[in-house]
Symmetry: D4
Subunit: 251 residues, 8 copies
């Protein structure tokens, strides 16, 4: 509707009933939303060009299904994260072609045919322990959906430092490294010191007691002794992949 | 400059070189900032119509002085909060006509002649103890500068509940009540239960030990058993006055 | 009973058996509660004149039902908040005429006929994401029950800033704005900077990890860079509506 | 057994085989536990002379039953706190004469005949809201079991300050006052300012959001503006009663 | 002034111009503060009958001096706590007869002649380490000023448990025990298990690192494994003495 | 594979096709992981020589079973900690010879015949209350599996200090003492002051309210007034046993 | 020295005294550090190729000077961060050619001639308020020293959302955006939603009360509603620049 | 004095005036402290046999001097920790022979001649960065004073993992390793995984922002992924040395 006032104004200018100067003056006093419609294209969400992402936590299976139906119709694709068992079940029935990742709690419907990867290099996802794998899978599926090649490196906790070191070449081949670790989060510092490419650290809620639901890993990663390690929220595999994808699609 | 593109576009419409429809289409694709100039008037800061407010904490006396000089020139008025002794000294010299409030750490230059109060009623500022007075003074000076009549009620801590009760009539005469208290912040609940008008609670950092710099009062006020008490940041007399002024200037 | 002593004393004065001076002296020594009965009328709860509000959390369905029966008999109306499924079920059976809001977990029995809205203007309830809707519904139902006109504006998170901007006119038409957001709570600052009317911010427990059950949004809103934004407890839609209603009924 | 060495030593002294000086010297070198047996009588637990108290949380019904059986046999009495439904059920069957308090989650077997109250005065238990009643009942049953007369005063939250004031006489009649409140814990300050007798404040976990499981009430009570209010752990009705009983049995 | 309306009303009753019933009705509608004057006597502060207590922290030396002058004139006595060096110096000059306690940061002017102790028994103040002495001295001076006999037991930390045990008889002779300890606050549990009289625990800010300014001792004391230990704020020697004095003056 | 490049290089040196100096130079430029294979033997996990330990929390019964099968095949032994009921059930079926500890949630398959204890002395595990027993059992089973003689001392809370003292001789006989306590954690300080051997303190999550899931005991133990008490994570019986075993196997 | 053993071994192989197989076997048993020398080149610190960075906080001026002298000699360049006034003074004297940034507390000695920028695009540093400038300057100087082109955009707090919007084009021109904000940290979410390139958010300790030294901004940024915003430590301008430089030098 | 009653009792037994049985009975009723004198020898402090340790923080120089004089006279030795500049100065004058460690803030007077080291092996003190050196020096001086051989390994932060690896042999030669690190505390996990001997981790307050005064390192070390790492308080070099000395003196 806000376009209408605009159109009307332009019409008056076209008909000579309003001088350009007067129109400009009047525009100065129009409220924001009358102008703003024009900006939609320029401000579209980050992930545009890729599938839309639905955060399913706290939504009913029917609600998620509804959103996914509308996305599938419009774009032929969607990605659902934090999909618990009932949501996954409901989507599996409705979209037999979708990829369901039980561990990562994701459901992904790719366009047909799937688009080629558009990122510059590989996003490498490194995990400290097997309990960190759900977060790693969320990150892997998201990064793939956003157009990145993904590799995984699992179970390289620093208490067995030789396992980290043996991975050095894999680490250095990556364009971006996502480090996922709970408890002391020490892997982020070790990896951060071994590579020169961007490192995104994801603290996980793995651990008990003084792990305080991921707080210990979060604080450790924020104060990492390796320079230039950047951190996302606890258990936020999706966010890490989104950050890595921003980096990997650097113009 | 962004106005230029706009003017140019309007000129083409006026000259018939561009149809209104085509102009509208083209506008859709202009980046935000080319349109945004028009919004300045509509998005001016809250305090518009009153003196500009300068937060002096972390600024050098010379910097504050510079900003005040430019404001005084443009509008004949300014309000400085969190002005420590050197800042107050510097401004007192430069603006002998300004009101300096030592306790509240404010410096206020009013327009000449001072404008009439524009609020609907009185903003009543209630404090629990004498140590809360600096915050109360900051609130009082700010509320006055924003065009409100201000009254004060001091030293009515709930441990002497009769002092609170004896103030009941003052409390009910006010349009908005600002309650300022540290430690247990209990005064907010008692006052909130006694009046029906809006109550803004300000926790203060008064107290030691488990007061944790105002955290105890903050949490207590947020969980007040009186319905509809709203809270601002610890020691934020300025913010409470701004909130009260928004309320007292309800259209 | 405490009125008795008083009446007795007045009788003695009327009969000339006690001088006014002696009666006054004696009154000075009566304990508080012998005088206090007189104050009941003056200290009635905030929401007087409207339906009574019952906080159902931690109460058994039978207990809530009992309170509601007694309220319905006395006043023909009640509002129940934080009503879980069993409570809602029990009340729906007993009061078929009551409005049950599943999302907002409220049950509202309006007087018949419903009273006209008594507030000055509209209370606008703005939410950042769909997960914030339960809190928004609690606020909306409460504000309506307290005699306010209510409007809703949903899903205007700041990560898509154009959606916020497009709402500018709605925002400015309101008498009071309630902003409801979890995670970074950034919407409160953006809205607070766009309007001059009172803004009540409600942090929600939406989010995980470093959201710490609403703590991140709470701290962000308390330290909002927009002046004069006031905050209520996490998820406290009821409290926000009560605060907004105090404001909207400013004498 | 450690008494044996001692007796042996004394026997040698009695028989003239060991001089008192040599015995003393030898005692100096006996390890602690050989002497310590003598102290059992002097260091018996606080509640001696009353029924033993069993904290049932984290124990299986069978375990609690076993302890209670042994206590009932030895002393004819016991008190169980934090007894959940299965524990209560199991004890009700085994001890039909025991008092089971559903709200306070206690099971109390009194000696037969019940002993007279031994405390100096009355322990008054004041609660702010109905959600605080479970803690109040735990306190009431415990105080009674420890030999105190108990009175209750319920639902006197400070948001309706007149209800507190009307209770002034009851408050002043008590020997010790236990104040139980969640959320802002403000009742402790108000009551603490109204009476001169000892006040024990119990924060409760009632409330949500910034109540942080009782932290808000705990901090508020610790920083109470009323002098000399002492605090126990969150929800610790038992501890408050034990403290009150220590006071009420002052020699 | 509020007494006036009352007197006037009583005069009218005395003159037969108003029936007792009508007067009673009218009283029901008088605002709180018109009745409240009568309550002053009944609601006098806790410490009444003793010297007034001035909390000097955050007050200027001149302000403290002014309050003390007025108190000395009215009552011949005062107690100042948290008096830093300049305040102590200023008061020493003005009141040469006052007792200045450097360690406890108190200045005490006793009535002349000093009143006899009015408490039932002895308040015993036990400290874990020498760094806790300032808090102990504040408690000792306050307890004395409030009319209690005071004894001290110092440096009985639990790491040398024999020192605690050797004090058992002193502990059991006391009417009330104040336990003052920082760091792990373990002394409160050990003493609480050794005596049957009331125990007030004062956590101190002694310690570094994970002592977090007294938080470790505070939490430990609140969760003491000894039943019925009550706690006051960190470093609050004054509050502990006030609580002990309430207990020791049990009617 | 990385051994290949090395072998190849050595072969060239052996064949005289590469001088030792040139080989050394080339080695300097090999990436880490080409050298690292050699370190596996030197960096094997701590527990080498003993059974492998599996942390079952967050793993499915089938996953744990798979790991255990492979360990049993390779080494004839395993230890599973944090095994919930389904895991324990599954392992009991598969390994009838394994020891299942219900309280400690462990499943232990010992080599056949069981190896002799290899530690220097006895690891003594002391608990404050019966609720601490699950952690104590986890510690006991782990210490035994790692080759240590284990003794237990239960229910020696400091509120009954005579029980602690009576245990003095047992305490002093031990090579290492593990102290397990929740709430105020005071036992660690008392024991730490009574013995000269190493003390490992384990805070437990036993307690409610201000125990904050073990935080109170953790902070108290970290700030213990006994010198040289070392602490592990909340409820970490396994870690305490591992630390004790490192100590007890001192070369 | 560890190279020696290696050389010796290679010598034996060359002389035929040791077969390649035996040498390989022996290498497997060499301790880590005998092999590790070879890795130095591969594991050099992140910033290699640029000036070395010295963190001056907690170092004496003389110590910093010593390190800088040695760096200047070896590489002709250095960067010092967190240099307080005495350090800056000392370095200014010793290295007159060095750039001293008072606001950012940095001292930078560039190689002569300064190297060309090596990054892909521009690092844009955006600040919410003038108090955030010291952190912004630290970031700017560091990013420049690491070989990046730097632009600044200052004072674009979200409370004046039009200022942010007007910067949209600058934002979209950048290769990497560093967003620096204290208090509610809301700018990170708004900018994160406006651009598709990587965003590094830096919370600052600007603010008081519930800002808790940057905690509010930190939590808000970690829970940003804009997908893919990565965060570094509070006030860590250096770390943000290092992360941005890793990104901007993506191979 | 308590020995007197004992002696008297023994005398009566020797004289046949009291039967051993009656004496035993009477002993049962003697208060603790009459028996306790015998325990002094058995409960002497940990550090017995070595110099006494004085914690100087919060003590005046004169007080520290007094204690040291008395210790020097009695034992010819002392160790002072946390000695600030004035204390160090005062002790240097009084005891020219004492070793003053500026960095570690210790003053140590050794017996003459110094005793031989009595520990089993070497205590190795490893630090992550140069800012951790004050804590390391405190640990080193303390460990030496308690009779241990000490070695140091400095600046082996995990961000340069090769520096850690190159130290592997030193690490494995030690009997006990003390790891001292601030910020992310990751070094504890890496070292804990490399050695089989006991590891004591000391978090330091080095770092800013989310390091929260050592909290980040503390939590990380408590949740270390290396099994059996034990932790002491933040910055507690003394405590780490005391723990290490307990271990190194294992009987």
């Amino acid at each position: 509707v806000s376009g209408d006032r605009f159109g009307e104004l332009l019409g008056q200018v076209a008909q000579g009933r309003l001088s350009p100067e007067a129109a400009l003056e009047r525009l100065r006093h129009l409220p924001v939303d009358d102008l703003q419609f024009a900006q939609v294209d320029h401000l579209r969400p980050l992930l545009q060009g890729h599938q839309e992402v639905v955060f399913a936590q706290g939504k009913l299976p029917e609600q998620v299904l509804g959103i996914c139906r509308s996305l599938a119709e419009a774009t032929g694709a969607f990605l659902v994260t934090r999909a618990d068992a009932p949501v996954r079940e409901r989507l599996r029935e409705a979209f037999p072609r979708a990829d369901v990742n039980e561990l990562g709690r994701t459901v992904h419907l790719e366009p047909d045919p799937p688009p080629a990867s558009t990122g510059r290099g590989t996003v490498l996802i490194v995990t400290a322990g097997t309990s960190d794998l759900p977060v790693a899978e969320e990150a892997a599926v998201t990064a793939h959906a956003l157009g990145n090649r993904v590799e995984r490196l699992t179970d390289v906790g620093v208490a067995g430092i030789h396992r980290v070191l043996r991975s050095a070449e894999s680490l250095r081949r990556a364009a971006v490294v996502i480090v996922i670790a709970g408890m002391d989060g020490a892997l982020a510092s070790v990896v951060g010191g071994m590579v020169r490419v961007p490192v995104i650290a994801v603290p996980t809620s793995v651990g008990y007691g003084a792990a305080f639901g991921g707080l210990s890993a979060l604080l450790a990663m924020l104060t990492s002794c390796a320079a230039g390690v950047a951190v996302v929220n606890i258990d936020n595999g999706f966010g890490a992949a989104a950050a890595a994808s921003r980096i990997n699609h650097l113009p």
